[in-house]
């Protein structure tokens, strides 16, 4: 059993990737055969809700490149640069500026 801090840090770090989670995290989850699908709900939530926030902040970019392309870019971006502030509205502005 991982300590509270190790468990949360591992859980959090693994939300950013699409790789299969390591055995030692999966061992922490109750598994009826669907533990990975259940963990992936949190991965998906992380990507979608932060991607939605980017879409709200950059409607013009989204309009120019289209919904599908924006979503793909947002997924990559959110994984590479996860939110560095506690407030969603202020999350990614400065980094986006640098990318431009």
């Amino acid at each position: 059993m991982k300590s509270l801090s190790n468990l949360q840090q591992a859980f959090c770090d693994l939300l950013r990737t699409s790789d299969p989670p390591p055995r030692d995290l999966m061992d922490e989850l109750l598994d009826d055969g669907t533990a990975l699908e259940r963990f992936n709900v949190y991965r998906n939530n992380f990507i979608v809700l932060n991607g939605d926030a980017l879409a709200d902040m950059y409607p013009t970019v989204k309009r120019l490149i289209g919904d599908e392309a924006f979503r793909s870019l947002a997924n990559l971006y959110v994984r590479k640069h996860p939110p560095a502030t506690r407030t969603l509205l202020r999350s990614s502005g400065s980094r986006i500026y640098r990318v431009k």
Binding site: R38, N45, R86
Partner: protein
Amino acid sequence: MGYLERIRRDYPISLHSVGTSLGSHLPLDRDHLGALKGLVDRFEPGIVSEHLSWSHGREWYTHDLLPLRYTEDALNKVVEHVDQVQEALQRKILIENPSTYLQFRDSEMTEQAFLVEAARRSGAGLLLDINNVYVSCCNHDWDIEAYLSAIPANLVGEIHLAGHTVQAMSRGTLRLDDHGSAVCDEVWKLYKNCIETLGPVPTLIERDSNIPEFAELLGESIIADQVLTAACSKYEVAV
């Protein structure tokens, strides 16, 4: 904020926080707590609430509400953080039960036992989200009656209702809290039963996305009003 001030002049409001990360192993963010205190002082809400969850690691934030392992050390951490929030805000808060999609193998107690104990030790109340109870109980095959009957009426200061979606898995289905659909019949039934037991409790219907026509929203709020009004007459509370 201008709108909110005008609304606050005429109505009591409930402030629902998502960012304090009560269940995190990391210390609370003092700047965030200070900003929250600023809001509370400015709007003087009737109720302040936060979720039983955690949301960040050491260097970055998920902005999601992540599930807790229900152990004694996690309980101590939650109680410590609720104490700190209540101390900073100089008021009691309510803790909301989450929708969860997975369970940790080494949890030592049920979610309802964890919630009630966290409230008792910290002096906080509970925000009972009936959709979340339904979603989590269905997702983990928990007994809904056992969950709800473990919640003491005197701890419940607010109720939330919301919709959810059902997603297929390789085995069975998973219910996902989405705040983007109508409250389902089962949740309405549980709500009516809860209000009969608890008496009239301030109720909020959450809808953040996929907002329907106003008439549909109004329709849901009328149903909740009728349930509350019936309870008010039973408990002889002035409406």
